[in-house]
């Protein structure tokens, strides 16, 4: 893999600990995430991988009784000091289950720009087209932008959600198991799309499909019981894991 060590960092996480009530979900996580790469987070269910990416845009704070310690810097900015709304415009997110708004396709994509004060029709038209093209959906929906997004297939809905995230022109896209609710064909489409997106965006993707992580990511972090066991270039980790537990997980001995 390319020498990402020279790239500038998009995230720098130090000694991150997180509790849900009394349960500790993340333990002493310290990793640096380089820019414009695809980072896969793998690990068995309940290992804290979803919790981890939700700390990156502070979505985890929507859960009552959550407590965090340690520091997360997004491009040298301490995210605790950042305004959460502006952090989330720079760090987009795509969720496990497609969650389009109960609105037209057009309004779904225009929602982000609109709440941030962009109202003129011409700009919005452009943003909608550009974002849908970016999410490889334009050709399929350009004639029915006024239709409710709920009428689309699951895979198309997920691409609406990706387009919706692209519309506010983020630098980072967080993806929380974005293909787990999709069929293999839609999954392949999303994976192709991720491949395209990595040219312009930093992507951090949670997946419990190890083949997927191998296919799409530059680097992989293996989480287990709230800890990062190993974080390395994907190729290296899959061919030559340093930790026994990583080896066991990748070779399917548990998980």
């Amino acid at each position: 893999m390319n020498n990402s060590e020279n790239k500038s960092l998009v995230y720098s996480i130090k000694d991150l600990n997180l509790w849900y009530g009394d349960t500790k979900a993340l333990k002493n996580i310290s990793i640096d995430i380089p820019e414009k790469e695809v980072i896969a987070i793998i690990g068995p269910s309940g290992c804290g991988k979803s919790t981890f990416i939700k700390t990156l845009n502070r979505m985890v704070e929507l859960v009552p009784s959550v407590k965090t310690e340690g520091s997360i810097h997004y491009k040298k900015l301490d995210i605790k000091k950042a305004k959460v709304e502006s952090l989330r415009t720079e760090v987009g997110m795509v969720f496990q289950k497609p969650n389009p708004f109960p609105k037209s396709i057009y309004d779904n994509i225009a929602y982000g720009p609109r709440i941030h004060g962009i109202k003129d029709k011409k700009t919005l038209d452009e943003v909608v087209e550009r974002s849908l093209r970016g999410a490889a959906l334009w050709e399929e929906v350009k004639d029915r932008l006024d239709e409710n997004a709920f009428g689309l297939s699951g895979g198309q809905q997920q691409r609406v959600c990706i387009a919706r995230a692209l519309a506010v022109e983020p630098d980072v896209i967080l993806m929380d198991e974005p293909t787990s609710a999709l069929d293999p064909l839609s999954t392949a489409k999303i994976e192709d799309l991720i491949h395209e997106l990595r040219k312009n965006y930093s992507i951090i993707i949670v997946t419990h499909n190890m083949q997927q992580a191998a296919r799409i990511s530059d680097k992989t972090a293996f989480f287990l019981n709230g800890e990062v066991i190993e974080f390395d270039a994907t190729e290296r980790m899959y061919s030559n894991p340093k930790d026994k537990r990583t080896d066991d997980y990748i070779s399917g001995k548990f998980g």
Binding site: M59, R88, F95, P102, K103, G112, I115, R164
Partner: protein, 309 residues
């Protein structure tokens, strides 16, 4: 000897003819019960219709729906124009909605979007107690508390007026609007809210631009149901609004609604078969039509805008 389960089941099956009869009889019973309420409704409509038709043999339908004066008690020259009663009814309904819509919706948004689980568990039952207060108590509240209070603001407010019963009818329908709207808002899945938060939306933006549009059908039908209750409300207006049929929007004067006219005549001694006697059915029919239209409207709106998550 040990009796196996299988043998016991066999034994029980022997009794089945009796069970079969019950199995067959019960659906019939349920059907009859369900038909009963439909039959009662039909019976009500029949009575209403029969007496209404009798009324229109005395007074022309045209005079009834175009007349602007309602003086049934004038011995020599009574007039039966429905408009003063309609305007009285809608004066009350408008004031009630002006009170209930903002308060009801704001409380629904608070309960659904802002309140913690704990405060929701405390506040919702308290709010629903309001729905259990008998309307006669609300009527007294309007007459003996709200009216004197209003008189400190509007000095020449008569003791019977449209303003205070209007406000109190509004208070009465708040719980219904809040409760139904909040349920509609709750039906918007958290994942949809998360999608908006992840785009940098604030709590208020999520509430106003995601949750309200997403639960629009439920909210509107709660409002229409509230309106139809306000139109049909009887006890509060009979107690506190007076009995002066007044055409126009006159909140600071005594008025009469359709319902309070019906009460007034029913309480008095209208001779059976007199025009006044039949008039309460014609008024009742009008009221029935209005609430029917409201309910059909609510149904239609909720079906048209319903989001299935």
């Amino acid at each position: 000897m040990k009796i196996t389960i299988r043998e016991r089941i066999k034994k029980n099956k022997a009794k089945q003819s009796y069970q079969n009869t019950i199995e067959k009889a019960m659906p019939l019973l349920f059907f009859l019960m369900a038909s009963l309420s439909i039959l009662v409704t039909l019976g009500i409509i029949y009575t209403l219709l029969r007496e209404t038709i009798m009324f229109f043999t005395h007074i022309s339908l045209f005079d009834f729906i175009t007349g602007t004066e309602w003086y049934p008690f004038f011995e020599n020259n009574p007039s039966y124009g429905i408009w003063p009663l309609l305007s009285g009814t809608f004066t009350i309904a408008i004031i009630a909605m002006l009170v209930a819509v903002p308060i009801g919706l704001a409380s629904a948004i608070y309960l659904s979007e802002y309140a913690s689980d704990r405060s929701r568990r405390i506040l919702k039952p308290i709010l629903e107690v309001l729905a259990g207060v008998p309307t006669v108590v609300y009527g007294l509240f309007a007459l003996t508390f709200v009216t004197p209070l209003m008189q400190t603001f509007v000095t020449d407010l008569p003791i019977f007026n449209a303003l205070s019963p209007g406000i109190v009818v509004g208070i009465m329908i708040i719980p219904q609007i809040t409760s139904l709207s909040q349920e509609a808002m709750n039906a918007v899945p958290q994942s949809v809210r998360d999608g908006a938060y992840a785009l940098g939306a604030t709590r208020l933006e999520v509430a106003l631009k995601i949750v309200i549009p997403g639960s629009f059908s439920g909210i509107v039908s709660s409002l229409v149901l509230g309106l139809s209750r306000a139109i049909g409300e009887t006890m509060i207006v009979s107690t506190a609004a007076g009995s002066t049929p007044n055409l126009g929007f006159t909140p600071t004067e005594s008025i009469q609604t359709m319902t309070s006219y019906i009460v007034q005549v029913s309480m008095g001694d209208a001779t059976f078969g007199s025009t006044i006697y039949y008039s309460i059915y014609a008024v009742g029919m009008t009221l029935f039509l209005f609430t029917l239209i409201m309910n059909i409207l609510a149904n239609h709106i909720s079906r048209k805008y319903r989001e299935v998550y």
